[in-house]
């Protein structure tokens, strides 16, 4: 089967375009509207963070961008194609996804996990696959000695790194992260954030992430989109978002926890 390359939009042009999105969950007696006429555009080269209270459908939105779930209504275009088109063979070369708990295949070693998408192409010789996976594994800060360890023997931070290497093995231009630093201790989480920042710069990635961690949010994001009232109430650079008047934003950023993280905002004036 011919794998058609996806045309990348130029730097700064929309890479993900969500228009008039409705998501409705039906249970036996009730109907929950999660998203109502939600619009969101992600431009190439951005690091967009999606924040919102629990139950506002952040992870659902990520899953819809990936094509794992179908919205009730509305359209999602990724790199100018509808999401259904993207799920074909070789999807790993278009979008990389880092799941919250890594989702490493527990029956494979770290290296085999990273090599999996390449091996499944069935055309690359095993030595090349091994070398390419090894390069990615070290790029995310794992050592060659860790390559043959099983996921059960890796620490939480190493699992995330291995999962990131797997997401990036085919050099996709778009990377999705679900709670990248959840479950990591502060030191590991700081290391992971700086790794993400350097990868974003080196590989010219576009990153969409969902996070609750304010440190991560302020250190990485070039833009923040706030989900509340079933839609994106505001999106823009962190400073503009904080200035926006809304009860959720007030509680989320300007509470005690927020004040501490805001210190960082002064230290890192939006690197990237």
């Amino acid at each position: 089967m011919e794998l058609e390359p996806v045309e990348l939009p130029p730097q700064g042009a929309p890479i993900v375009d969500i228009r008039k999105l409705w998501t409705v969950f039906k249970t036996e007696e009730k109907r929950f509207v999660v998203h109502q006429d939600l619009d969101l555009t992600v431009k190439r080269g951005e690091i967009l963070s999606i924040v919102g209270g629990s139950g506002t459908g952040k992870t659902v939105l990520l899953r819809q961008i990936l094509g794992l779930e179908t919205p009730t209504q509305g359209e999602i275009e990724v790199m100018g194609q509808s999401v259904a088109e993207l799920g074909r063979k070789g999807a790993a070369s278009r979008i990389g996804m880092l799941f919250q708990h890594g989702a490493l295949f527990s029956a494979f070693s770290a290296l085999e996990n990273v090599a999996f998408p390449l091996r499944e192409l069935k055309t690359l010789p095993p030595p090349l696959v091994r070398e390419a996976a090894m390069v990615k594994l070290q790029m995310v800060g794992l050592k060659p000695e860790d390559a043959d360890k099983m996921p059960a023997d890796l620490s939480g931070g190493m699992v995330k790194r291995a999962a990131l290497a797997r997401a990036l093995v085919m050099d996709p231009p778009l990377l999705l992260l679900d709670e990248p630093t959840a479950g990591l201790d502060p030191e590991a989480s700081e290391g992971f954030v700086s790794l993400l920042r350097s990868l974003h710069r080196d590989l010219e990635l576009t990153v969409i992430m969902v996070t609750h961690d304010l440190d991560t949010l302020f250190e990485l994001s070039t833009r923040i989109a706030v989900l509340a009232d079933k839609r994106v109430i505001v999106s823009g650079p962190p400073k503009d978002v904080i200035a926006f008047q809304h009860p959720f934003i007030h509680d989320f950023f300007l509470g005690e926890r927020g004040q501490r993280a805001m210190e960082l905002l002064r230290e890192y004036p939006f690197a990237v």
Partner: protein
């Protein structure tokens, strides 16, 4: 699409005798069948020492860069024209490429050590199985002292799931085996005119051997595997550890109710299976030999002593206990990954069926004088 196909192009000497790298050198492109073989052939015939020009390539990702780097023999060629982004990719590949590990050689020593390991592993299995059995005995004593503390809800749940829900399938299998056995023996018996003895043959064979065995093998496949999978998943999701932290013993809370439920359910299912197979045999005997059910029912108590029934039922209790213990044993040994869960479940079913047949043979030898 022609432009994006990865390829090499030799530039004429007038333009500096360079080798031009063209197209998209990406993993997705190399996913096209047979393309890589062509590119590899082009690469192999290329002269590394002449200049390389990568600046006209549409895209080079890490896999493409790896391919070039490997051709260059792991070092930069003398002349190479690169864009800054391409240099960054190649730099990373250069920095992180490690020599492949030497394949492990199989030697006598290694296979000798592997043998020792296998023996130790088998010893470990036996040791932890004995431990599990001993713990079950201790827990039964504890339960006897304080019956109100027992996990009775669990017990009744397992009794239903292992026993009641297995009734249809065991009935069907038992009935069919009874029919088959009756037809086969009827042909032989008719040659000798010993038609009436079909009752004896069916009675002894089904009640003493086939009924309990069939039931045990079906339950081993059905419930032994589910016990292993249940406990194994609890290991994978840390539930077992959570239980230990609360100070609740796995043996008391997980193993004992299952073992008790199987010990109670197994003889009952065995009797049920036997009854169904006798019914099958009776019908087949009526059709093929003209032996009426009335005669069959009348002759059966004379052909089969009560001792046989007692032996069959007590055998079933042992089978039930063994199936539960083997299931729990493999479940508790599952390591937290999917591979181990699958292996554990398979091993559990195979072992429990083997153990049931072995123990049945043991019973046959030990009690060869009872009830016949």
């Amino acid at each position: 699409m022609q432009e994006s196909v990865p390829r090499l192009e030799q530039q004429p000497a007038a333009e500096g005798a360079q080798l031009r790298v063209l197209g998209r050198w990406t993993a997705a492109q190399f996913g096209t069948p047979r393309l890589l073989r062509k590119v590899s052939a082009e690469l192999a015939s290329a002269d590394v020492q002449q200049g390389w020009d990568l600046t006209h390539a549409e895209q080079i990702d890490h896999v493409g860069a790896q391919l070039l780097w490997d051709r260059w023999g792991g070092q930069w060629p003398q002349h190479v024209d690169l864009l800054p982004a391409q240099r960054a990719v190649l730099d990373r590949v250069a920095r992180y490429t490690v020599a492949p590990p030497r394949p492990k050689r199989t030697s006598w020593l290694r296979s000798y050590l592997a043998l020792g390991e296998a023996i130790l592993r088998a010893g470990g299995h036996i040791r932890s199985f004995v431990l599990l059995t001993g713990q079950l005995a201790l827990n039964l004593v504890r339960l006897g002292k304080a019956p109100h503390e027992g996990p009775w809800r669990d017990f009744s749940g397992h009794l239903y799931r292992i026993g009641a829900t297995a009734l249809p399938i065991t009935a069907l299998v038992g009935f069919l085996i009874g029919v088959v056995l009756a037809y086969l023996t009827a042909r032989q018996l008719r040659q000798f005119g010993a038609d009436a003895y079909i009752v004896n043959i069916l009675g002894v064979a089904l009640i003493r051997e086939l009924g309990p065995m069939l039931a045990a093998i079906l339950i081993a496949g059905r419930s032994g595997s589910s016990i292993t999978a249940q406990i194994g998943v609890m290991r994978v999701t840390d539930e077992l550890d959570a239980m230990s932290v609360m100070g609740i013993s796995h043996s008391f809370r997980l193993v004992m109710p299952r073992a008790m439920a199987l010990a109670v359910a197994m003889p009952l299912i065995s009797i049920w299976t036997t009854c169904c197979s006798l019914a099958g045999g009776m019908i087949a005997a009526d059709i093929s030999l003209g032996i009426t059910p009335r005669f069959f029912m009348h002759a059966l108590p004379e052909a089969v002593q009560v001792d046989t029934l007692v032996l069959a039922s007590s055998k079933s209790v042992v089978f039930g206990l063994l199936i539960a213990l083997v299931g729990c044993h493999f479940g508790l040994r599952v390591k937290p990954n999917t591979q181990s869960l699958g292996e554990g479940t398979t091993a559990s079913v195979v072992t429990s069926i083997t153990v049931v047949i072995l123990v049945d043979a043991l019973f046959a030898v030990l009690f060869k004088d009872v009830g016949i």
